[in-house]
Amino acid sequence: MGKFTEDDLKKELETKEYEYGFYTDIESDKFPVGLNEDVVIAISKKKNEPAWMTEWRLDAFRIWKEMTEPEWANVRYTKPSFQDISYYSAPKQKPKLNSLDEVDPELLKTFEKLGISIGEQKRLSNVAVDIVMDSVSVATTFKKTLNERGIIFCPISEAIQNHPELVKKYMGSIVPKTDNFYAALNSAVFSDGSFCYIPKGVTCPMELSTYFRINEGGTGQFERTLLIADEGSYVSYLEGCTAPARDENQLHAAVVELIALDGAEIKYSTVQNWFPGDKDGKGGVYNFVTKRGLCEKNAKISWTQVETGSAITWKYPSCILKGDNSVGEFYSIAVTNNFQQADTGTKMIHLGNNTKSTIISKGISAGHSHNSYRGLVQISPRANNARNFSQCDSLLMGDKCGAHTFPYIEVKNKSAQIEHEATTSKIGEDQLFYCNQRGINTEKAIALIVNGFGKEVLNKLPMEFAVEAQKLLEISLEGSVG
């Protein structure tokens, strides 16, 4: 592609505004910046938490204070100054509403801009939506239908009040406060998130979904999600995120814990589109997340993710295959453009017998970005007949970006079967000209090629997400021809 086209496309990328770059003008309840024990206690108090929860947070805070920020990832960034962030922000609204008619129309307009027409979702796709606006969950719908089956789906703040036994038993059991720096921070200051419990033998009849949004500048978002699938149950959960344009980096340190008891299955899908920073690498969200699931006997957990946003993405949704015959799956497409950086992958820890894990990771790099896959397949000594299949493919667009792979395989049992495949490819000018000559313009050609590349992963997403994901892929790669 000659000079002409490159300049033209560069111009298009510059002027293409981040679609979700707007700011909801709602009065916000915001803490002054800084983090200390008083702030932690204040957060707990604001949420009317019981004493045991406040103690739990304080314990985490004290642990966090002793920890050092990790620096081993293949990413470079200006470290967030933890004392310059406000740790609580909520829109001044009555958080608990029985029906959408009671929601502030401004808020509803925001949801519409995000493409979430709640009414439509309610009626057509039968999805129960728990929308998190900044730090408070708004409009939890479909509670009644779920309640009839004994399914609990509510904000975690509510679960702390109404289901303390479950929270006490499971929160921090998969991702302990001591796990890592950001998990400790999250444990101390987590704002809100989703709590879900599926009773024994119940198949959740609808896909559960949550949308997140970082609204105010200077607030970190620390959501905490806990999903428990009791024996023999099934649930499919969708997580989709967007954020408005901001100049200063915004920290997003979430923790997600999944527990699949005997024979249960959890399908967890994420489409992440946080503000990625501008074309010069300024601004953007720091997405430092800890996600982990535990499988008991005959249980299964699949993580499917499409990551196109954030300035820095640092996450490894993982599975602990504790029970015999348990299965862990990880399907991922991570896109980086301009100056984005990603260090993402998964950890499959095989503990039980006859466990199986599948990893399919597709990385797409464009612009000046760097995309790293980091994965761990660990077979412990007692894990007999473990099987793993891993496939990491990288697609490079242009010659200024980078794709890196750090696959770790630790096998301590002779009966294990591990397979690993990796490919690296490039979208070249010749491929684009070939498409052009067949009447397909460059934008469409890139979309075609990228979708072909990511097909295997996109096919794993629930229908409604797959369409959004495809569109996201196209948008995030506009103007990135090599």
């Binding site: 000209f433 070939y434 000559q437 009447g439």
Partner: protein
């Protein structure tokens, strides 16, 4: 249909085409022959609109319309088809998906809706049979792992699906054994009509036994130095290119 006037083109400052004049009318088959480096592929690329090449003088007109302002995909919509000498691989994109996208993008440009799946499938079956292409082929990634012959047959398959006005076949015969050559030639001959035209670029006379040209031109050092009927090809076969210099 195609009128090339005094075409000069260069790449990276080096002039390759030094004043090409050529006219192709609907229903005609023209062949361009010439030694390596004479500018044959460049001519094909310039007509198709590859931006690496800069047109410094002259023009290319299709049906009276100057093509110079149009991007390659727009020229394709207007009916220009180039069968590549080295068709490139596109992993992850199946042959079927690719041709479906190409057809629908062209239809979109003409204000038509997408081709209904049933019709598309029927068309695919028809053309695949014409070119003796196995159905399993169609679900493979475009050109990935294809042999040279398979790539060329796939090019003509696409030509059959897109039904262009002007088909430029760049060394379509290279890498083909006799049987494959016959299949490809048969395909091209079936697609020929009074409404379209074919421009064959080749080194060897052999292809012209199967796709018989109305006119043969010799391209040498960026210029057409001689034109004639199909006998000219035999003359070149016998004498080589030296006698033209």
């Amino acid at each position: 249909m195609l009128k090339i006037n005094n075409l000069h083109a260069n790449i990276n400052g080096k002039e390759i085409l030094k004043g090409i004049n050529l006219e192709i009318k609907a229903g005609e088959v023209h062949a361009i022959m010439g030694p390596n480096g004479s500018g044959k592929s460049t001519l094909a690329s310039v007509i198709a609109g590859k931006e690496d090449f800069e047109v410094t003088e002259g023009s290319v007109e299709l049906n009276g319309e100057d093509l110079s302002e149009f991007a390659p995909e727009v020229r394709a919509h207007k009916g220009v088809f180039l069968s590549f000498q080295y068709p490139i691989e596109i992993p992850g994109v199946t042959v079927t998906n690719f041709i479906k996208t190409a057809i629908n993008e062209t239809r979109k440009a003409k204000g038509m809706g997408e081709l209904p799946a049933k019709e598309l499938l029927q068309m695919i079956r028809e053309k695949a049979d014409l070119l003796e292409i196995d159905r399993k082929f169609l679900s493979r990634s475009l050109n990935e792992g294809f042999s040279g012959g398979e790539k060329k047959r796939n090019e003509i398959f696409q030509m059959a699906m897109l039904e262009p006005q002007l088909a430029i076949l760049d060394e379509t015969d290279s890498g083909l054994d006799i049987d494959a050559l016959k299949v490809v030639a048969n395909g091209v001959n079936k697609l020929k009509s009074e409404k379209n035209a074919v421009l064959l670029i080749t080194h060897y006379q052999r292809l012209l036994d199967y796709i018989v040209p109305d006119f043969v031109h010799v391209l040498y050092n960026g210029k057409i130095v001689k034109s004639g009927g199909k006998e000219l090809a035999y003359e070149l076969e016998e004498k080589g290119y030296d006698w033209l210099k």
